[in-house]
């Protein structure tokens, strides 16, 4: 029993940490998205600058913002997420409805 308690602890702890990482990613995403969109986009459209054909606010907020999230998600998947079994080891195969 002790063994399985310990086993349970590390998997749930890792899962809790990954959930927090998810929230942090979302927070970064929101801040980046909001900051560039309204930081660069609030002036009148005549004063907009353009990057690669797009208005700068849109280019930085939505296009680069998307790429940044892809890179961050890649880093998280590669270095933060833990490999773990999802099944309990002693699980026996059972019929759903006997």
């Amino acid at each position: 029993m002790k063994g399985s308690d310990f086993n349970e602890d590390w998997r749930f702890k890792a899962a809790n940490r990954e959930a927090i990482v998810g929230c942090v990613l979302a927070a970064v995403n929101i801040l980046w998205w909001f900051g560039f969109a309204y930081g660069l986009g609030s002036k009148p459209p005549e004063e907009y600058t353009y990057v690669l054909g797009f208005p700068a606010w849109f280019f930085w907020s939505c296009i680069v913002g998307y790429l940044v999230m892809v890179v961050l998600v890649f880093i998280v998947v590669k270095f933060v997420l833990k490999e773990m079994p999802l099944e309990d080891e002693d699980e026996s195969e059972e019929e759903d409805s006997a």
Binding site: R11, N29, F34, F58, V73, L86, D90, E95, S97
Partner: protein, 489 residues
């Protein structure tokens, strides 16, 4: 009939049927009918998991309504649509492995199975089954209408005939194939959407004479199109940001999404799905909504905004390619309908019928009832869609937000807060739904409360209700079972 467009569409549908038949044969060899029909035996890898989430989520609203809104509103709506990038990683990270482990221990096949074991309360089960059946049924019927319109605009058939064809193909498909078939075709449909939106975007930019010309024409028509504030400056930063709740992080509480978060094979599939999902959902949303805005200088004066995508595809692409690209929205609708249909019938069969009427049902009996109920629900949706009643349209208006307000805290806090209990869950669900309906009417009459989308306040109120009632009617702290539960027949 435009055979150049219709032929590739028909080939696509035929291909999808073959997958359904293949899945059915695979299911015949499986040990547990319920887990396989409704959950595909929890064996999906990363690619299938990511695509099935994207395709379920990317419904008619993102493929017809979204670009249509971008066409009339401009870049403000594209900015809003990009809040959906979060769905790619947020759901799987936050529900995460804890949800996967716990639902395996519970032998949970649906969201309600999870809530039933976690809170051990008949009221929670019936309340959730009721919300799912009512709200998702209406959401589904609305897709039915959308699918029929799309077939109608492509083939020139009458609305009823188009509706009949749509219903028939969806029904045959879901009934023979179950969740595995739905997830497999979601994958193919996801790939079609991914490539299709990209091809269409490039074609639109070329047809519009390149980005500088397109932007010059947009600004000449109305400079507000290129600002984040909408064509009349009507979209405030607070309003657009509140979509982070509705279509970004709140998606975690949609039953059709959570059921997918328990369907993956192992941790590795989940890791891959997070990456693929984020890439694909961001790419599709960005392309799709840019097409909507860029279509404006190319095809000015479209009256019904929902028709922007079919019209622009027929305009800028050769017919055979337009047929393939338009398979994407049709695919999106079919897969959304497929999964909603499956979910509604699982609520009826598993959560209500087997739980409370016939717990000792035999394998064959369950199989017959599941397929029968799925067929009956599909036929009711068909009959209602012939002449959509107002109640249906009304319910669909807040199906997603209502479900989010009802389920978000019972799921998230049930998973991560030991003190969460049934009183909190019931209070939270009732508060969420009632305040959602109340604020919906308030917003319609007096304009948006606090300038944000309807979903915002109910989500906060239901959190408050959950915490207050869990603490007020305190029970002993909840511990998840340490091992897989024994099944009682």
């Amino acid at each position: 009939m435009n055979w150049g467009v219709v032929t590739p569409l028909l080939i696509f549908l035929l291909f999808i049927f073959l997958i359904g038949i293949w899945s059915n044969r695979k299911m015949a060899s499986s040990k547990s009918f319920l887990a396989d029909y409704f959950l595909g035996s929890r064996e999906f890898g990363g690619m299938v998991l990511a695509m099935t989430m994207v395709a379920t989520y990317g419904s008619a609203s993102s493929f017809l309504g979204g670009p249509g809104a971008a066409y009339s509103i401009g870049f403000g709506w594209v900015l809003l649509a990009m809040t959906q990038v979060a769905t790619g990683y947020f759901v799987l990270l936050v529900l995460g492995k804890k949800f996967a482990i716990v639902t395996r221990r519970y032998h949970a096949v649906t969201l309600i199975d999870f809530l039933k074991e976690r809170y051990r309360s008949t009221s929670v089960v019936l309340l959730s089954a009721f919300s799912i059946i009512v709200f998702l049924f209406s959401a589904m019927a609305a897709q039915w209408v959308g699918g029929a319109y799309l077939i109608q605009s492509l083939t020139g058939m009458s609305y009823t005939a188009a509706l009949f064809i749509f219903t028939l193909s969806v029904l045959i498909y879901v009934i023979i194939g179950g969740f595995r078939a739905v997830a497999m075709t979601d994958t193919i449909q996801g790939i079609v959407m991914f490539l299709g939106t990209f091809v269409l975007l490039v074609a639109v930019v070329i047809a519009g004479g390149g980005l500088p010309t397109i932007f010059a024409e947009l600004i000449a028509e109305n400079p507000n199109f290129v600002t984040p504030y909408g064509q009349d400056g009507q979209l405030s930063a607070a309003y657009i940001s509140s979509y982070w709740i509705l279509v970004g992080v709140g998606v975690i509480a949609l039953p059709q999404v959570t059921v997918r978060a328990m369907s993956y094979r192992n941790a590795k599939s989940m890791h891959r799905a997070i990456l693929i999902g984020t890439v694909v959902v961001g790419f599709i949303m960005l392309n799709m909504h840019l097409i909507g805005v860029f279509a404006r200088p190319v095809l000015p004066g479209i009256e019904v905004a929902d028709q922007v995508i079919p019209l622009i595809a027929l305009d800028v692409l050769p017919p055979w390619l337009a047929g393939i690209v338009l398979a994407a929205p049709l695919a999106a609708m079919m897969s959304t309908v497929d999964s909603l249909l499956l979910l509604v019938s699982s609520s009826v069969v598993k959560d209500v019928y087997i739980n409370y009427f016939k717990p000792e049902a035999s394998f064959q009996h369950v199989k017959k009832v599941s397929m029968g109920v799925t067929a009956v629900i599909g036929i009711i949706a068909f009959l209602l869609s012939i002449n959509p009643p107002e109640l249906l349209i009304f319910l669909n208006l807040f199906a997603f937000g209502g479900l989010e307000a009802a389920f978000i805290w019972p799921i998230v806090l049930g998973l991560y807060w030991k003190t969460a209990n049934k009183s909190g869950a019931i209070a939270s669900m009732i508060t969420g739904i009632v305040s959602y309906i109340g604020i919906h009417f308030y917003n319609e009459a007096y304009g948006d409360l606090f300038g944000v989308h309807t979903v915002t306040v109910p989500v906060l109120l239901s959190l408050l209700a959950f915490v207050v009632f869990s603490l007020l009617l305190k029970e002993s702290a909840y511990e998840f079972p340490k091992t897989t539960m024994k099944k009682d027949a």
